[in-house]
């Protein structure tokens, strides 16, 4: 079994060591540095999630990925996620196909909603239409990925008649995933359209998703498709010791979740809930390299997944803390997980 390991960021706004927020521009330059460093540390994939807020000032991650592509050779680059429902699938395809060209075939895309809802009012979409928008646009995106002229008609964008959409890829479709947060019908949809499955597990016990991989593979069979990989995306933070990782991450986690809780319906985090989520049965990968490696290995096995993407960082952490996280993930966690799984 071949396992791959990624890092995801939402462009979490950095602070300096005194806790003062850095500018959006400096945060974006830091993300580019982090992506380049991720390759040096031995990470397989670097993903940037679309967000539109002051604490996640990252609406155009593909531009940053192109900057990273120009300075790297091997690492795969993609979205994590692209909020497809409030975008035009044709433009998304064009941007990532361009990234694929720039990077010599290293582009990927994860389509979904993420926890991002700001793009809906920003671009004039109604959240109540979310499901219909996503379904129609994902269907069109699957057509675009095939590479030939596209004929398509729907309610959410103008029809396409035998339309050649450029740039063409050099060697077939680039990898494309659908991010799923726990709705089994979304798993079926990913299989029906031929996307790989990205399980976003950001709270509660990861093991509850164990039936989803099986559901995905059985659904692929039912739709006459070959097996496709499953990835797990979860938040976390790695430092030299469990205590240090928790001490760095907890105040930032509490601050940001408390901020978004009213609109997302999250509970305000308590030390008790944080301990549960960072414990062996929780969704947060916060701790020393050894602690995090064991948790990743356990959950990859339980969920029959072959890729793990750690969403690193949190608004208010420093660039240095993130670089340390990346270094420990690449140099210690990834080799240790491979060892545990071999």
């Amino acid at each position: 079994m071949t396992y791959t390991f990624g890092l995801d960021t939402f462009g979490d706004r950095n602070s300096d060591t005194d806790g003062n927020p850095l500018s959006h521009a400096q945060t974006i330059r830091n993300v580019a540095e982090e992506g380049v460093f991720a390759e040096q540390a031995g990470v397989d994939f670097f993903g940037i999630g679309e967000h539109h807020t002051g604490y996640f000032p990252m609406p155009a991650g593909d531009v940053v990925l192109a900057a990273i592509a120009a300075r790297t050779e091997r690492i795969r680059l993609g979205s994590a996620v692209t909020v497809l429902s409030s975008d035009d699938p044709v433009r998304v395809f064009q941007r990532y196909s361009t990234l694929n060209a720039i990077s010599g075939g290293r582009a990927e895309v994860i389509l979904g909603r993420g926890s991002s809802i700001e793009s809906f009012p920003l671009f004039g979409y109604d959240l109540a239409d979310y499901e219909d928008l996503f379904d129609e646009k994902a269907t069109l995106f699957a057509e675009l990925l095939k590479g030939g002229p596209v004929t398509w008609e729907g309610k959410t964008r103008p029809a396409l008649l035998n339309q050649d959409v450029v740039p063409h890829t050099e060697s077939g479709p680039f990898p494309a995933w659908i991010g799923v947060g726990g709705n089994p019908q979304s798993v079926i949809r990913a299989a029906r359209l031929g996307f790989s499955l990205a399980l976003a597990i950001i709270g509660g016990p990861p093991a509850r998703f164990s039936a989803y991989s099986q559901l995905f593979q059985r659904a692929l069979e039912k739709f006459g498709r070959p097996p496709l990989p499953v990835l797990v995306h979860s938040p976390g933070h790695i430092a030299a010791t469990d205590e240090q990782a928790k001490a760095e991450f907890w105040p930032r986690w509490r601050e940001i979740i408390t901020l978004v809780a009213p609109e997302r319906g999250f509970a305000i985090p308590t030390e008790e809930s944080f301990d549960r989520e960072t414990g062996p049965h929780g969704a947060l990968y916060v701790g020393s390299p050894e602690t995090v490696a064991h948790k990743i290995a356990t959950n990859l096995r339980a969920l029959e997944a072959t890729r793990f993407d750690l969403k690193y960082g949190m608004p208010g952490l420093t660039h240095d803390q993130l670089m340390t996280n990346i270094e420990l993930y690449g140099h210690q966690v990834i080799p240790r997980v491979r060892e545990l799984l071999s």
Binding site: N183, P184, R208, L215, A261, P262, R264, G265, A267, H281
Partner: protein
């Protein structure tokens, strides 16, 4: 009511399968249905809700002692109220504009009161809406467990509230009864117990000091 009976869960998204699994474990017979063909959810049922039966909604409802509504609220607006006539219906849905978009029909007050008005032939109870689907199974405990959590049950019909409290108790939570659907506003998004998992004394304390139910 008679011992664990027949439950119909409408909705096979985030929430429905979780409630269905808990009910199966508690000894209920469970049918699950969406607005479409049961064939569409056959695979989901087999792998994610083993033991449940996928059925057409009308058939599932006809045989059910309790019907759980676990569909997005905007889809509820498309549901034929006649489907649920004469039934005890548990409303596990939420009106949560920031997450799901705004719905004019629900702009004012309590979402379950609106649901009840749209289902004049049914008896409505609000329950199982306020604990996140991510943790609902993980936090369920048998009766008497020291770390058992509480779940609110709100309705205008005492017999229906009692029956729903029985369901809540069997699937693993201490039911806290609220005397009306209006009082059940404390269970909504933005309320003191939404998304939080509390013990019974903590829960009672939290809702007692909330004015949503008083006005």
């Amino acid at each position: 009511m008679k011992e664990p009976g027949m439950l119909a869960v409408l909705g096979a998204g985030h929430v429905g399968p979780v409630i269905a699994r808990l009910a199966l474990k508690a000894g209920y017979r469970v049918d699950i249905a969406t607005s479409g063909d049961p064939e569409d959810i056959a695979l989901i049922t087999e792998l994610v809700i083993p033991g449940a039966q996928p059925r057409w909604a009308a058939d599932a409802v006809a045989d059910a002692d309790i019907v759980v509504l676990a569909i997005p609220l905007h889809r509820f607006l498309e549901l034929d109220p006649m489907l649920l006539n004469g039934k005890l219906v548990v409303d596990a849905m939420n009106y949560w504009p920031a997450s799901d978009g705004e719905l004019k029909a629900f702009d004012d007050g309590g979402s379950s009161e609106v649901v009840a008005r749209r289902l004049p032939g049914s008896t409505l109870v609000k329950a199982l809406n306020h604990i996140g689907y991510q943790v609902l199974e993980d936090r369920a405990r048998p009766a008497g467990a020291p770390d058992r959590s509480a779940a609110g049950v709100a309705g205008d019909d005492p017999a229906a509230v009692a029956a729903t409290a029985g369901l809540v108790d069997r699937i693993g939570y201490d039911p806290v009864r609220l005397e009306s659907l209006r009082a059940g506003r404390v269970l909504q998004p933005g309320g003191p117990v939404f998304g939080v998992v509390l013990t019974q004394p903590e829960f009672e304390q939290a809702v007692r000091h909330d004015d949503r139910s008083l006005t």
